[in-house]
């Protein structure tokens, strides 16, 4: 499947990444190579094969609904790039919700 620059640009937005035009061109070619390589999977008939999303056969894992202490707010905020001591702060989200 050939990959276009426009597709890569769209994926970049979806992934919240930005690239220069130059980077985009290189990325398109690299991703194109990789996709060409992985296209060998289409040789395989996988009709009726159950997809394998987990490596372990573990099921029904639950925890009891018993409260445990949360982290102190100071500790959390110490790692935040921008905060006012109570809230995280981000650039205005203009009527986006």
């Amino acid at each position: 499947m050939a990959l276009s620059l426009e597709e890569v640009r769209k994926v970049a937005l979806l992934a919240r990444l930005q690239f220069t035009e130059e980077e985009l061109v290189e990325l398109t070619s690299q991703m194109g190579d990789i996709l060409k390589y992985v296209d060998q999977l289409s040789e395989l008939d996988t009709e009726g094969i159950e997809p394998m999303a987990h490596a372990a056969e573990v099921q029904n894992v639950f925890a009891d609904d018993i409260q445990q202490p949360s982290l102190p707010r100071e500790v959390i905020m110490e790692n935040a790039p921008k905060h006012d001591g109570k809230y995280y702060r981000v650039p205005a989200v203009l009527g986006d919700e």
Binding site: N60, A63, Q67, Y88, G95, D96
Partner: protein, 502 residues
């Protein structure tokens, strides 16, 4: 764009020129102590960002573990909604960027939800719409995002983020587009909320966000020989059932007007999201996300699937209480109530139903019990702002009063006073009547009193004789003044008998 509404068309035809198609997505916060994937508290109203931990703020390396109780409550709710429980369910990641979603994905369920295909019967005893079953497409268990506080004034200052709510367990209940009026939409929500209250799975508090509703609305329009459908619009931001009713009604009119102007039909526009503006009473288009909802769902590798056996489903089913729909039918059958009365009682919740049933059984008259329940008990309950559990006047005591009324030991008007005194002073019916000096007037005393009144009022006797029986009414007041304990009906009967006897 300013819309011109088409009320005139509707009035002219007497009915709407279209059919509404409404489906509802309800998010219900499940009543757990802790979050879905970590053990932080879910309590509402805490200081911002004080109920978080590495798991719910999505710190590097932290992993989710499913809350047992949230899963149990979800299964219980699904069973109550008559939804099928598949033996295998799994969770998926729904990927999107938003500052109140710290992991960058919501853990939800995509193709194998924990329940699929149910129904909820809705009805309106006042006759606003016909009783119908609303299909439930699915119900699935997912976690909530946090809260974003926007700068409403200028829109330019930073948005503030509080992650206390992040990770709260939600059950999303998706209906089929089976509702065709705002009344039905409201009826569905009311019935759903009632059911959830009976199940004790959620607080259903819309103000605190523990019940949230999104509506999918479009129209079916008969355009000559052709049937057309308007594009589906998802309406959000409705903070009461009343708002849902209004938003849906508004949206239908708006879509009709737009269709008349543009002729655009379903498929010609992508699904649009609009927000309900309660102060302006209109819906407004919401800003489209840059990358129109490519959520890239895939199986959540950090969580295991859940499997459930028929035996386990049966044991969940055994824990279900009797549900509102069944109780309504049973009350109508057992106590000869009409649908309206049964509905009022069931709407009071399990405590109300229990109270009514004991009252009705002990007094032996379902209708009388229903009247007293609806008029006196509910009024007192509202005045005192208490619940049935706290209500001091026991149904067995109240039944004593109702029996006294039946035996004509006290008339209905006086009985209301007795009710008041029983409630205030925590008395039995007999004690209450005694407190108010109510005694039974014996037959000869009553007869003497009536004779005396007839002698004093020859005109009344004349009138009755000439066929105006209602003239006797004038004597009842006088009789009560002479002896407050007399029963007005008895006075009337004895007087008429005496006049007839001459």
């Amino acid at each position: 764009m300013k819309l011109k509404m088409t009320d005139s068309t509707e009035q002219k035809n007497g009915s709407l020129p279209y059919e509404m198609i409404i489906g509802l997505e309800v998010h219900v916060q499940l009543k757990t102590e802790t979050k879905l994937f970590c053990r932080c508290s879910t309590k509402f109203g805490a200081e911002p960002n004080t109920q978080t931990c590495p798991v719910c703020i999505g710190m590097p390396g932290a992993l989710p573990v499913m809350n047992r109780r949230a899963y149990d409550l979800a299964i219980k709710t699904a069973l109550a909604l008559d939804i099928g429980i598949p033996h295998f369910t799994k969770w998926d990641r729904k990927n999107y960027y938003y500052p109140d979603l710290p992991r960058g994905y919501q853990i939800s369920q995509f193709d194998l939800p924990l329940s699929e295909g149910g129904k909820l019967e809705i009805s309106d005893p006042k006759g606003g719409f016909k009783t119908k079953n609303v299909g439930i497409t699915r119900a699935h268990l997912e976690d909530d995002a946090g809260k974003s506080l926007h700068d409403e004034a200028s829109g330019k200052a930073d948005t503030r983020i509080d992650l206390n709510r992040t990770g709260t367990p939600l059950l999303e209940i998706v209906s089929e587009p089976d509702m065709s009026s705002p009344q039905e939409a409201k009826g569905y929500l009311t019935e759903l909320k009632l059911l959830l209250t009976y199940l004790e799975v959620s607080d259903c508090n819309m103000q605190e966000g523990s019940l949230r509703v999104d509506a999918n609305v479009n129209l079916k329009i008969q355009n000559g020989n052709e049937t057309v459908y308007t594009p589906i619009v998802e309406v959000k931001n409705m903070n009461s059932f009343r708002a849902v009713e209004r938003a849906v009604a508004y949206e239908a009119k708006r879509q009709y007007t737009v269709w008349q102007e543009t002729g655009l039909v379903k498929g010609q526009l992508p699904k649009q999201t609009r927000g309900w503006d309660d102060s302006a009473q209109i819906t407004r288009a919401q800003r489209e996300k840059e990358d129109a909802s490519d959520y890239r769902y895939f199986p959540e590798p950090d969580l295991c699937p859940a499997v459930i056996t028929e035996e386990e489903i049966a044991s969940y089913r055994a824990t279900l209480p009797e549900l509102p729909g069944a109780i309504r039918k049973r009350l109508q059958g057992d106590f000869d109530l009409n649908p309206y009365d049964a509905d009022v009682i069931v709407n009071q919740g399990q405590g109300g139903v229990d109270y009514y049933e004991e009252l009705a059984k002990e007094c032996g008259d379902g209708k009388q019990a229903s009247n007293w329940f609806q008029q006196d008990v509910l009024r007192k309950l509202n005045e005192s702002e208490t619940t049935f559990a706290e209500f001091s006047l026991q149904p067995s005591r109240l039944a004593g009063l109702l029996l006294a009324v039946q035996k004509k030991e006290v008339d209905t008007t006086r009985a209301k006073d007795v009710f008041g005194v029983m409630y205030e002073k925590n008395l039995t019916a007999q004690e209450g009547m005694k407190e108010l000096g109510i005694e039974q007037v014996d037959t000869s005393a009553l007869s003497d009193l009536c004779k005396m009144l007839l002698e004093k009022n020859p005109q009344v006797v004349e009138d009755v004789k000439s066929g105006k029986k209602q003239a006797v009414g004038a004597l009842i007041g006088q009789a009560k003044k002479a002896n407050p304990n007399v029963n007005p009906g008895e006075v009337r009967k004895v007087c008429l008998d005496l006049i007839e006897q001459g």
